[in-house]
């Protein structure tokens, strides 16, 4: 199987995630898009690990998963707290840090 297809898929997933982060307002959806970008990167790591024939890329993807898990814990806690205080999960409502 051609290796470039995996890379195309990875790039496509990453782009979808990035666009989702920028255009969507719902904090949960933004969060899922971030996860999508992380997993696109994981896919690229595993692919290159396969290409080079060693396990470095797979190890890196495990690290990414651990970081993603931590991020989910902290990020969801923040989103839930904001929802409780503002009755809204829109990221545009939490825009107090401006000039």
């Amino acid at each position: 199987m051609d290796i470039s297809n995996y890379i195309y898929l990875s790039a496509l997933l990453f782009t979808i995630g990035a666009i989702g982060v920028v255009v969507r307002r719902n904090a949960i959806v933004v969060f899922m898009c971030v996860e999508l970008m992380l997993n696109a990167a994981n896919l690229a790591f595993v692919t290159f690990s396969r290409v080079h024939g060693n396990l470095s890329g797979q190890v890196a993807s495990f690290f990414t998963m651990v970081v993603a898990a931590c991020e989910v814990v902290v990020g969801l806690a923040i989103i839930v707290t904001i929802y409780r205080s503002r009755r809204s999960a829109s990221v545009d409502d939490a825009s107090l840090l401006k000039r």
């Binding site: 990035a18 982060v21 920028v22 969507r24 933004v30 990221v91 545009d92 825009s95 401006k98 000039r99």
Partner: protein
């Protein structure tokens, strides 16, 4: 060279007294004046002891020195704070402490009604200390400290009644005019240091013989500028008339007898520089000749008795400066005239103070008249001073002023005739304006204010006047009999008697000429002031108008120095506000504008920050890709 241990007390005692009286404040009000007078008398006593000790030592070892402490030791510059009492210094020390003590005594009575008498005496002692340091310092730098000290004391005393704005302004004017001269002195010291590597009198004297004429002329010109500032000589003379704002004893001590003669001391002390530079000497005689006529002309038109005497002081110091410019033969005569002038001018100033004391501080001579009958002692002492300044034999001025006129004629050639003519003309004008003062004040009819009840001054005031009057009579004869002063000063000024061979006119002819012109001046004044209007006449000649306005010296200074200076200042203020501040402000404005533009990025939307991050990463990746391609 003899080493003494007493010299430091000459300065330390009055300095301590001044500090004590100023620090204790009102606590010392009751005894401050007595204490200061006793200190001044003690200084005179020490000076007298030192003088007789000097007499006991023979020629070479007469001069005494005392090193107080090592003052400056930097690189090649080593200056000790040490004192030198030689034949020249002792003349000044005796004059300063002697006349100073008399004026302290006089001031006890003169200032008795003044609330701040203690402060006045503290300043007087400060002046005595500074003036003695000036004449006792053994280097130009030590002299400079005293030079600045007397400037400070003069400023404080002219502005003693500084609650009157005009008096405070007069003090500032004197200080500023003196600063111009002080710059000259500091420049002279700096040139001397670069040329000779030392600033002591002995070191500069040793170096002067091998130095270039240009350097010596530069030092001489700067010293002359310094002397002109301190001694109110042309072109820095304008402050002396206004300095009369100070209490009259101050005018007698500082602005007649001692401080204003510091310039004569400076030039005499630096004789080795002037003797080696004929150009500098020529500048000195020109300044002296101009000032002696300038001051005399101003004196003819002043109605304020103190200002008339101030103009006379300026003129008489012009005589001394002229004499110092005539080379080795002139120094001793300059110092002799300085000493006799110290007596008769201080005496006349005290006399003027006595008249003012009796006339409710009236200074306008047109409101005086016939005071001789009610104040006989004042009139007599003033009269003796008057005869002395005129040069009538055998009074003091005859011995000192005629010698200067004679020496001026003997300068040789056209220069001698011009200088001699100037001094003779000055003597005639002096006779005119001094007679005018006498006629307006002591004789004629009463022109008093209704409230004035003149009376003779108390003993404490007339006793010093009487002592000074005795000095005006006898000092000239005592100093010149057997050429006493000339021989005494010989080791300092290197007079070698060779110049006496070439006499342009014999002394008798000079004296006769001087007496004739003086008689003409007196006669002219007596005839002109037979009747004196109370108000100064307005339709007078252009010369009188000019003399009343001090020959336009203030107008000149204002037009040439003050106005352009003000323009320069306001120009600099505008430059500062518009250009320099404008530059700083425009930098701030540019940064503010950029910041305002950048601030719009900070909109608080997380999505927009994410987009900027994405764009940034894209730009970075593109850049790396472009580089590695």
């Amino acid at each position: 060279m003899h080493t003494s241990t007493n010299l430091v007390y000459l300065i330390a005692l009055p300095l301590f007294s001044a500090a004590l009286l100023l620090i204790l404040g009102r606590i010392a009000d009751k005894w401050g004046h007595i204490f200061a007078t006793l200190i001044s008398a003690a200084v005179f006593l020490i000076a007298g002891i030192e003088f007789f000790a000097m007499q006991g030592r023979s020629g070479e070892s007469r001069a005494a020195t005392q090193k107080i402490f090592e003052w400056i030791s930097v690189g090649t510059l080593h200056v000790d704070a040490s004192l030198l009492l030689d034949q020249l210094s002792i003349c000044f020390v005796l004059l300063i402490s002697g006349v100073g003590t008399l004026i302290h005594i006089y001031s006890i009575a003169y200032m008795s009604h003044d609330h701040d008498r203690r402060r006045f005496f503290a300043y007087l002692n400060l002046f005595i200390a500074a003036m003695l340091l000036l004449v006792l310092g053994d280097s130009y730098l030590n002299l400079y400290v005293g030079w600045e000290g007397v400037g400070l004391a003069s400023y404080l005393l002219i502005g003693f009644w500084n609650q009157k704005p005009a008096y405070a302004t007069a003090a500032k004017k004197a200080f500023v005019a003196n600063r111009v001269g002080d710059v000259g002195l500091s420049l002279a010291i700096m040139i001397a240091f670069t040329q000779f590597g030392t600033v002591t009198f002995a070191g500069v004297k040793a170096g002067a013989s091998g130095a270039s004429t240009g350097a010596l002329t530069a030092i001489g010109a700067m010293l002359l500028l310094a002397a002109a500032g301190k001694s109110a000589q042309f072109p820095l003379q304008s402050w002396l008339g206004d300095a009369m704002a100070g209490p009259t004893p101050v005018s007698a001590l500082i602005h007649a007898a001692t401080m204003v003669t510091a310039g004569v001391y400076l030039i005499t002390r630096s004789n080795f520089i002037f003797d080696a530079s004929p150009t500098a000497q020529l500048m000195v005689v020109i300044v002296g000749a101009i000032t002696l006529l300038f001051g005399a002309l101003i004196g003819t038109a002043k109605d304020d008795i103190k200002k008339a005497l101030a103009a006379s002081t300026m003129s008489q110091i012009g005589y001394m400066i002229l004499a110092t410019g005539l080379g080795p033969v002139g120094y001793a005569f300059a110092i002799m005239h300085l000493l006799t002038h110290g007596f008769f001018k201080a005496g006349m100033f005290l006399g003027a103070g006595s008249v003012m004391h009796g006339m409710n501080d009236e200074v306008n001579m047109r409101r005086y008249g016939a005071i001789g009958k009610v104040m006989p002692i004042t009139a007599a002492t003033f009269g003796l001073g008057y005869l002395a300044i005129l040069g009538v034999p055998p009074f003091a001025g005859f011995y000192s002023k005629d010698k200067i006129i004679e020496t001026a004629f003997n300068a040789g050639g056209v220069k001698g005739i011009l200088l001699g003519g100037a001094t003779l003309l000055g003597a005639a004008i002096t006779a005119f304006y001094m007679t005018r003062v006498i006629v307006l004040t002591f004789t004629g009819t009463k022109r008093w204010d209704e409230k004035a009840h003149p009376h003779e001054s108390p003993f404490l005031m007339w006793a010093p006047m009487a002592v000074l009057a005795i000095g005006s009579v006898a000092s000239g004869f005592l100093l010149s009999s057997g050429s006493a002063l000339v021989n005494w000063l010989q080791p300092v000024v290197n007079e070698n008697h060779e110049h006496h061979a070439e006499e342009f006119l014999p002394p008798l002819v000079v004296s006769t000429m001087a007496l004739v012109v003086v008689a003409i001046g007196v006669a002219f004044a007596v005839l002109k002031y037979r009747t004196v209007p109370v108000d100064a006449p307005a339709n007078v000649s252009v010369f009188t108008k000019a003399a009343r306005k001090d020959l336009y010296q203030d107008s000149f200074n204002e037009a040439v120095f003050m106005r352009p200076g003000q323009k320069l200042t306001s120009g600099l203020v505008i430059t500062d506000n518009r250009v320099i501040d404008g530059l700083v402000r425009s930098i701030g404005w540019v940064i503010q504008t950029i910041a305002a533009a950048l601030r719009s990025i900070q909109n608080g939307y997380v999505r927009s920050y994410a987009l900027i991050m994405v764009l940034g990463v894209l730009a970075l990746v593109t850049a790396i890709w472009m580089v590695t391609l």
